[in-house]
């Protein structure tokens, strides 16, 4: 378990640009063990980019990211931009992170089950039999046990999303990054995912999730963050951020949702 004295993630003054477009304009946030942080914001506001910067799939142009108190070392690249100072450090830290991609990114040459055991066996070096057993339990939990031998091209959108969730969980990560994990799920399954996340939080794991479903965000999170044009516009307890936001922009965003 990550050292309790240290926050699980610290992001400080993170900036990222794509060409002329400044996507993140200085984001600072901290997540402690067992915390669930829900990030909302309009489309294109930089939510995915933020998550991708945390595990260095995108190298931020400025600012720092620390995982369990260990700062990821970057260095200036000749010709502008930065690059990892020590790729091995990133690989090591990534083993503590799990990620569910917005577009799933399941490995197309592996079956659902193989997708789930791939990283535990070949990155963490766990015995295959053990990993398989755990994977089957996870697939069962997300209701995919009967699809375990299907290839990603043979399952439905919601099934792919659940496979991606199971794949990330199988790593038993200390910090989970969820990019819209329930976008393709029906209400029942959303409830299931909610329960899974709660269990994980109780085990002391940290989660950051991007979502568009305010109800879900409010239920699942300890803290809410509203990202607007690359900046943290509002941050606080869910009841505040998703209920009575102080910022005008956030209020407008929240109020536009349809109520059922």
């Amino acid at each position: 378990m990550i050292n309790g004295a240290q926050p699980a993630v610290t992001v400080e003054d993170l900036t990222k640009r794509f060409g002329p477009l400044e996507v993140l304009k200085g984001v600072t946030l901290t997540a402690h063990d067992g915390e669930v942080i829900a990030i909302v914001g309009s489309s294109g506001s930089g939510k995915s980019t933020l998550l991708r910067c945390i595990n260095m799939l995108e190298i931020p142009d400025g600012g720092t990211v620390s995982i369990a108190g260990e700062e990821i070392r970057l260095r200036e690249k000749r010709g502008g931009g930065r690059e990892p100072a020590e790729p091995a450090q990133i690989d090591r830290l990534r083993q503590k992170l799990g990620m569910v991609f917005q577009s799933f990114n399941l490995w197309s040459h592996l079956t659902v089950l193989e997708n789930v055991i791939e990283a535990p066996v070949h990155v963490q070096g766990r015995p295959k039999a053990e990993a398989t057993e755990e994977a089957l339990a996870l697939l069962d939990k997300v209701g995919l046990a009967d699809k375990r031998n299907h290839y990603p091209s043979q399952i439905s959108g919601g099934q792919a999303q659940r496979a991606a969730i199971a794949r990330a969980l199988a790593m038993r990560p200390q910090l989970m990054l969820f990019d819209e994990p329930t976008s393709s799920l029906d209400p029942e399954l959303v409830g299931d995912v909610l329960r899974v996340i709660r269990t994980l939080a109780e085990e002391g794991r940290t989660m950051m999730l991007v979502t568009h479903e305010m109800a879900f965000a409010r239920e699942v999170a300890n803290r809410g963050i509203f990202l607007h044009q690359g900046r943290v516009e509002e941050e606080g307890p869910p009841a505040q951020v998703f209920g009575q936001p102080r910022s005008e922009r956030c209020r407008q965003f929240i109020s536009s949702q349809l109520r059922s």
């Binding site: 690989d91 992170l97 791939e118 070949h122 290839y151």
Partner: protein, 236 residues
Amino acid sequence: MDFTFLGESFLRLIGGVPLTLQLAFSSIALGLCLAILLALMMQSWFRPLGWLADGFVFVFRGTPLLVQIFLIYYGLGQFRPALDEMGIWWFFRSPYYCALLALTLNTAAYGAEIVRGGLQSVPAGQIEAARAFGMSGLTLYRRIVAPIALRQALPAYGNEVILMIKATSLVSTITLMEVTGLAHKLISETFRSFEVFFVAGAIYLAINFAVTRLIELAEHRIAPDLAQANRPAEVH
């Protein structure tokens, strides 16, 4: 058709098959290792390595194999004193080793381009997913990149294998009597080029047919999901 003559020709030419196969398969095996190395060099962050690989591919892909064989064998033969001094004349003295060297370097250059193309076709998202799980280096290549790249590259690599089998016919220019060399000899004795070429063609066809089937088999083994999935071709 004179079947007796065809039979006789077949018996003569089949004597060259072991040499043909030996040269083809050793050069393909060695060449593939070198090709992978070259493709990785091309993608490496350290640019001089990339330039080196590019230069190699440029020269060996850019010139005819026949000339390469010729220059390695007859050309280096001119520098015997220097090679003697380095203690490697024993290697270049032998037409077999020279042929093997030329074939290996040649197929490595072509192979490198094929491997590079395969690597590029791996969807970025799938690599990212692997990275996000802490996969890197060899594991990333072995488990994710290579299998996906292989499926893309296999048809093109199948081409290359067959080309190499046929390319061995050029080694008769440096006195190695494989199937084509024997065929030419037989023609010069009998002047029946049609029949002899027919038999030689049939022998090559048989070898290559077997190789094609093996590659197809490999394709099915490597890409079972492609075989099962609803391929676009079947979408109406």
